[in-house]
């Protein structure tokens, strides 16, 4: 079972460019999440979606947007990347009991 996949695995991006991080799950979970992980700060929620067609803002949403057109996919878009968005990004999904995580995308914005 694939679980949750993320793409790309890593990326170096020039400041000001846009990028979409992809996340796909095959567990038919309703809820999905995007986190960023920075050293010493744990995980911070960027955006979430409780079900297809709905999204919500997390703790650090500025500079990011999401969409949830169907149950399986939850892409995260950076419209105009800035160096402070350098981080490791994790996508997760939930069966309402616990969250399951993808392998992460390491993004460097120069």
């Amino acid at each position: 079972t694939a679980g949750i996949t993320q793409a790309p695995t890593s990326q170096i991006l020039a400041a000001g460019r846009s990028m979409t991080l992809r996340c796909t799950q095959d567990m038919r979970h309703n809820a999905m999440y995007w986190y960023r992980q920075d050293l010493g700060l744990g995980l911070r929620l960027i955006h979430y979606s409780n079900t297809a067609g709905t999204t919500g803002k997390g703790e650090v949403p500025d500079g990011y947007s999401v969409s949830r057109a169907n149950t399986d996919d939850f892409p995260l878009t950076l419209a105009s990347a800035v160096p402070s968005q350098t981080s490791v990004y994790f996508c997760a999904s939930s069966d309402s009991r616990e969250q399951f995580f993808g392998p992460g995308t390491r993004l460097t914005v120069l």
Binding site: G42, L43, L45, N50, E98, Q99, F101, G104
Partner: protein, 112 residues
Amino acid sequence: ELKVEQNPLFLSMQEGKNYTIYCNYSTTSDRLYWYRQDPGKSLESLFVLLSNGAVKQEGRLMASLDTKARLSTLHITAAVHDLSATYFCAVDMSWSNYQLIWGAGTKLIIKP
């Protein structure tokens, strides 16, 4: 505002020793999670604690939850090198559709 505090944030210990990681949170919740993260890897679920007094054990790890004290502990018994990792606790904002608030993590290094 819900805050989750772990301590210690860094722990270096010898194999064979016992130790406890603490997770305090600031407001009412009756769901708490422990995750493990190896360097450069994703997060792996260890324990889901769903009620006051819950205790779960897996191998050398045991987790407990005291919702009245707003405290969870992760106890390591007779540590072995393979348990070296970063451990996170997370508390469920159950009023907000299963969003989790995360502790900063405890980096555990177990020396042979």
